[in-house]
């Protein structure tokens, strides 16, 4: 009789641990999946930018510095890929700012504004940027859910031993940086 009681207790405890462990794995996989989604879009953006720079180069003799900033910001963003979400987010926000300046300058060139290729690239970059920002909401929500789980009872007791560690948020740009600061007083 006692043996049965002990066996039942052991079974319940082990079963509980398995459920908690599986729950954490599911949540961690969701974080990874959401991050993979963002990475696809970031890669797409990095691939589109050289085309855009190529397309506007000929028209933009005077704003070489704008193009240089975009190219540099892109290079930074690409190399930040290996340094985790926090660094990557910073580099990407810089790139977003540089791109906005570029598109603001494009507004000054009627031929560029009518150029089908530029329009198409602008649409592609706009949608990619929107997709990144919507994916970011989803990613941060999954990270928040996962981080809360590994820090709260009862999962906290198995998170440490089984190597579940905190994940970083992919931060939104601060409002001040999101506003493009471009000198529009060009002839």
């Amino acid at each position: 009789m006692e043996l049965i009681v002990i066996l039942v207790i052991i079974a319940v405890v082990v079963g509980g641990l398995v459920l908690l462990y599986n729950g954490l794995v599911t949540k961690r996989n969701r974080v990874d999946e959401a991050w993979a989604q963002i990475e696809v879009q970031l890669k797409r953006r990095h691939d589109l930018i050289p085309n855009l720079v190529q397309a506007v180069k000929g028209y933009m003799g005077f704003e070489q510095d704008v193009l240089t900033r975009v190219t540099e910001a892109r290079a930074n963003a690409v190399s930040a890929g290996a340094q985790g979400p926090q660094q990557q987010a910073q580099a990407e926000n810089m790139l977003t700012g540089a791109l906005r300046s570029l598109f603001a300058v494009v507004e000054n060139y009627p031929e560029l504004k009518a150029n089908q290729n530029v329009l198409q690239l602008q649409e592609e970059l706009t949608t990619t940027e929107n997709q990144i920002s919507f994916s970011r909401q989803h990613y941060n929500a999954t990270v928040n859910d996962y981080n809360t789980s590994i820090q709260t009872v009862p999962s906290v007791f198995i998170a440490g031993p089984f190597g579940f560690t905190r994940r970083e948020f992919f931060d939104a740009p601060p409002e001040a940086e999101a506003v493009p600061s471009v000198d529009l007083s060009l002839g």
Binding site: Q37, E123, T127, F134, S135
Partner: protein, 320 residues
């Protein structure tokens, strides 16, 4: 101040309540008709159960066939990334925000700006928009409309409205059948009175059954329209929650309301599906029987969510 989440939860509760009222009406009609015909309340229970079960099954079956039929009736053609790149991009953005699969996207050749969503669940969803909408709205406004439509998809509104529609239809059919049976069929009611039984009570039951048969279809229709209007508010609120930009949707609502062209492919059967009531130029529908809330009220509810003061004229929203 009510947050988006409060508003969405409240709307969902209201919709469920209204649906229960319709099912309750159907059951009550079944009960009283059974009572009047069979002459005793216990014998009426099976007829009540039958009415509810048949109505529910009919509505469950119907949503499997609905969407392809609606698209065909509206003359919609499917588009892809090549034929409508910006539209597809905007829809894809919204599917990411709403965390739903990419729906099929259709274009309807009509210069009146409007849109609708159909399909029984997010995996089988289709969005249809008119060419007029694509031409007249800017990117932000288009995003607002697509967010509204995908919210319908995510909230299972289409399934819901189809099922409520069939329930309302069942009520109308049952009431109609009973009234014909009573007045021309030479009814069960008198036969039961001959057997003795309730006498005065039996007459009252018969009168209640007849009154219910007359009133239930009207009440059910009112409830259906109220559900439809609640769902529009809910989809507006949920749409803004997706885009995080209330102005696109507000401007789109105003632009479509102020557009003079009626949608030619819409009719009384499909009007409740659309983003904004397509029947505006046909006139004759009062507020109670309307499938869509007044546009100004929709805009002002969105403004209230963002803590802004209400507008007095739709055109003011175009400048926001």
């Amino acid at each position: 101040m009510a947050t988006f989440y409060d508003r969405i939860a409240e709307n969902r509760r209201n919709s469920i309540l209204l649906a229960l009222v319709v099912v309750g009406l159907l059951g009550m009609l079944g009960l009283f008709i059974g009572w009047a015909v069979a002459g005793d309340p216990a014998a009426a229970i099976p007829s009540m159960v039958l009415a509810v079960v048949v109505g529910t099954i009919a509505s469950l079956v119907s949503y499997y066939a609905g969407s392809s039929l609606v698209l065909r009736v509206s003359g919609a053609r499917e588009v892809d990334e090549q034929s409508a790149p910006q539209l597809m991009n905007v829809v894809r953005e919204m599917t990411i925000a709403a965390n739903v699969p990419m729906p099929k996207v259709y274009l309807i050749d009509d210069t009146a700006p409007n849109a609708f969503a159909t399909g029984r669940d997010p995996k089988h969803a289709s969005l249809a928009i008119t060419t007029g909408l694509l031409q007249k709205l800017d990117r932000e406004e288009l995003q607002g409309v697509m967010a509204h439509e995908l919210s319908h998809v995510r909230n299972f509104d289409i399934r819901f409205s189809v099922m409520v529609g069939v329930l309302v239809g069942s009520i109308a059919m049952l009431a109609d059948f009973f009234l014909r049976f009573t007045f021309w069929g030479g009814g069960g009611g008198s036969r039961n009175r001959d057997r003795g039984g309730g006498g005065g009570l039996q007459v009252i039951v018969l009168i209640v059954a007849i009154l219910l048969a007359i009133l239930a279809p009207i009440v059910a229709r009112l409830v259906q329209m109220a559900v439809s209007r609640e769902r529009e508010y809910l989809a507006d609120a949920a749409g803004v929650e997706l885009t995080r930009n209330p102005y696109g949707l507000q401007r789109a609502l105003a632009k479509i309301a102020l557009d003079p062209e009626p949608l030619e492919v819409a009719n009384r059967a499909t009007q409740h599906l659309y983003f904004e009531n397509p029947m505006k130029k046909l006139g004759g529908t009062s507020a109670l029987f309307s499938t869509h809330p007044p546009t100004l009220e929709r805009i002002n509810r969105l403004r209230a969510l963002g803590g802004q003061s209400p507008l007095t004229d739709i055109a003011q929203a175009l400048r926001s």
